[in-house]
């Protein structure tokens, strides 16, 4: 992996060697990252600004996607076929699941192709490439914040009490961001060599959504399948988010623990692999 920078007194020393998989490299890569905070923030702000500048509806798009999906699902699953929703109004139930889900899928969808779409930058300037998918994840979080305004309105409309359990949403969303980043790193690394990823993404995300308790409750999953089901890290995240907002209760410990463990296992592996591929990424772009 290129770049093994140890900031010295005045001049940083950089050692460039052939790529290799080692924990030491990982550590040095992490130590470099703080130097690029400014760049990350500038690129994220740029991402958000460009998206909103170019469209007439601007920030409304952040709200429109989960809202539109919620309307569709609510209509189908309230009138055409009944879907259990733990006794809560289905519209609210669905929106609560769609909010974190939309953030996740938007982050993944845009981050996976970020290296290829920025090939001009990647082949001309050096910066830790993980910053590119990271900026998309951060931009998706920003959209999530905008879309939660509608959630606030819905909570008021349905007279849902605000409890301290709401604070659970913060660590849950942090976990969401970390998971999105980890999966994006894997997808980015694969996409550089196999461009099919961008075509496969919509299908992958569709499948994943149905494998997560977004439009149906966790309780609806048969017990026999439960342990396999919990291997999907998005299960704990979506369910915990919804519990914190609607039920006002702490997360289901089994589900959340499963999410935390899977994400914690995935991230270092994803990052290590990404850094290994990063070294020669420019040769393929």
């Amino acid at each position: 992996m290129p770049g093994d920078a140890a900031p010295a007194a005045a001049r940083p020393v950089t050692i460039i060697r052939p790529p290799s998989l080692s924990a030491a490299r990982l550590w040095h890569a992490l130590r470099q990252l703080p130097r690029y905070t400014d760049l990350t923030l500038v690129l994220t702000a740029h991402r958000i600004r460009v998206r909103y500048k170019q469209s007439a509806l601007g920030p409304l798009w952040a709200v429109l996607q989960p809202l539109a999906m919620m309307i569709i699902f609510a209509t189908v699953f309230s009138t055409i076929s009944r879907m259990p929703s733990n006794g809560r109004p289905y519209a609210l139930f669905a929106y609560c699941g769609l909010l974190p889900w939309t953030a996740f899928s938007a982050a993944l969808g845009s981050a996976a192709t970020s290296l290829v779409s920025h090939s001009a930058l990647v082949t001309r300037v050096y910066f830790p490439r993980e910053i590119l998918p990271l900026t998309y994840v951060l931009a998706a979080l920003f959209d999530l914040a905008v879309a939660s305004s509608v959630l606030a309105l819905m909570l008021a409309w349905y007279a849902v009490p605000i409890t301290p359990a709401l604070l659970w949403t913060l660590p849950v969303l942090l976990l969401l961001a970390v998971l999105a980043l980890a999966v994006s790193l894997v997808l980015c690394a694969v996409n550089v060599r196999f461009r099919d990823i961008s075509v496969a993404m919509p299908v992958l995300l569709q499948f994943w959504m149905f494998a997560s308790p977004v439009i149906y409750p966790l309780e609806a999953v048969p017990h026999a399948w439960r342990s396999w089901y919990l291997l999907n890290p998005m299960v704990g995240i979506v369910d915990s988010f919804r519990r914190a907002v609607i039920e006002g209760t702490a997360p289901d410990s089994a589900a959340l623990t499963a999410s935390v463990l899977t994400t914690a296992a995935l991230l270092p592996v994803a990052y290590l692999w990404f850094k290994h591929v990063e070294a020669t990424m420019a040769d393929l772009l």
């Binding site: 992996m1 290129p2 770049g3 001049r11 940083p12 020393v13 950089t14 050692i15 460039i16 060697r17 052939p18 790529p19 400014d38 760049l39 500038v42 690129l43 740029h46 600004r49 460009v50 500048k53 170019q54 001009a120 930058l121 990647v122 082949t123 001309r124 300037v125 050096y126 910066f127 070294a279 020669t280 990424m281 420019a282 040769d283």
Partner: protein, 388 residues
């Protein structure tokens, strides 16, 4: 104090063919080792395919070596195609911040240097306009201005100097000299032999991925020119040299008739082909060719067959001149060759590979070549004439 050190650096590219054939390997660099002292300027020259751009990418950390190690003491900034990070919808100001951040400057640093950057580029009245409205000159100047204010410890420069007009070139070179005076170490990877000779303390020549030669700029550049003119451009197959007409020399002259070795894009050029004809030769065609230095790419070929009168050469010595008021070639190194051909049989009777022509930046080239032209603003009455 060693700022940059390369030890046994090699870079291998693997070509995968879709049809699952054997994987071809290509070593772009082989066992390159060198050290750079603080404040030194090193030039790297070589023909196309010698590994220059690979070396550039390795030093800029854009890709990793296959073997070997590179140690860089200090902050290194590479100027590779400035202005490429610009987003057309954003204003100049926003792009300065974006581009500056991408090149490694902190927000505070950019804010502090902002006014100097804008002044250097000369775009102050337009700084808050979207860059898609900028002229190509403004675009390039702003891009370079940002990169020029990086203040790195080590500067890596490539053909970025090949863009812009002569005035801008001078501004860029002056900025580079300024950086050098303040002790910045620089690596110059370029085709522009004149600039390399002027700005560097040491030069090395890359050939097929290895360091073939290194030493003083004038020595290495001279040797480079000699090698390539000597191997030169070989006569095409079927030419029987020396038969009727033989070419003695090909020389390059400027607009005043003085011998030169270098012009700028858009300058006048005359190519004089001196011949000796033992007996008179009827109906011959004389041609002037401009090839790349390694003889592989033919940039242009001018022939009396297309736009001259019928040529009959009387016995004795003489010369044929090709004159162009504004040479459109873009900056680079070319080999000029002359040939004489029999008009009826099309056989090449004589061929001579001539001197190297060095083209420096002059008229602005956007694209592959410069087209001599004028612009005129016509009155309202002419408006409808332009409509289909």
């Amino acid at each position: 104090m060693i700022d940059l050190s390369c030890r046994g650096v090699s870079k291998r590219y693997r070509m995968r063919s879709r049809t699952r054939g054997p994987r071809r390997e290509f070593w772009a660099l082989r066992d390159v080792s060198f050290d750079m002292q603080r404040g030194e300027a090193l030039g790297v020259i070589g023909p196309n395919g010698s590994g220059k751009s690979t070396l550039l990418k390795l030093l800029a950390q854009i890709t990793a070596p296959t073997t070997g190690e590179i140690v860089i003491d200090g902050r290194l900034s590479a100027l590779i195609e400035v202005g490429s990070g610009f987003h057309p919808e954003l204003t100049g100001r926003e792009n300065v911040y974006l581009s500056g951040a991408i090149l490694g400057m902190s927000r505070r640093e950019i804010a502090a240097k902002f006014d100097r950057i804008v002044e250097f580029a000369g775009v102050a009245p337009f700084i808050d306009e979207p860059v898609k409205w900028y002229s190509s000159g403004m675009y390039v100047r702003l891009g370079f201005a940002i990169a020029a204010h990086l203040d790195p410890d080590i500067l890596l420069i490539d053909e970025v100097l090949a863009v812009g007009d002569a005035a801008f070139q001078e501004q860029c070179l002056e900025r580079i000299r300024e950086l050098r005076r303040s002790g910045t170490t620089a690596v110059f990877i370029s085709h522009d032999l004149t600039a390399v000779e002027q700005l560097c303390d040491r030069v090395f020549l890359l050939e097929h991925g290895r360091v073939a030669l290194h030493g003083r700029p004038d020595t290495v550049v001279r040797e480079y020119r000699r090698r390539f003119v000597a191997h030169g451009v070989s006569a095409p197959p079927g030419a029987h040299v020396g038969a009727d007409v033989s070419l003695d020399a090909v020389s390059l002259l400027d607009g005043a008739g003085e011998r030169i070795a270098s012009i700028r894009t858009g300058d006048p050029l005359t190519v004089r082909v001196a011949y000796t004809a033992p007996s008179s030769a009827a109906d011959v065609v004389v041609e002037a060719f401009f090839y790349s230095l390694d003889g592989r790419v033919l940039f242009c070929q001018h022939t009396t067959a297309l736009d001259g009168d019928r040529l009959d050469l009387p016995a004795g010595r003489g010369a044929i001149e090709f004159a162009c008021i504004e040479m459109p070639l873009q900056p680079g190194e070319y080999v000029v060759c002359g040939s004489v051909r029999d008009a009826a049989t099309q056989h090449v009777v004589s061929w001579l590979s001539g001197p190297t022509l060095s083209v420096r930046p002059g008229r602005m080239v956007r694209g592959h070549f410069y087209v001599p032209h004028t612009w005129r603003h016509l009155a309202a009455g002419a408006h409808d004439l332009a409509l289909p």
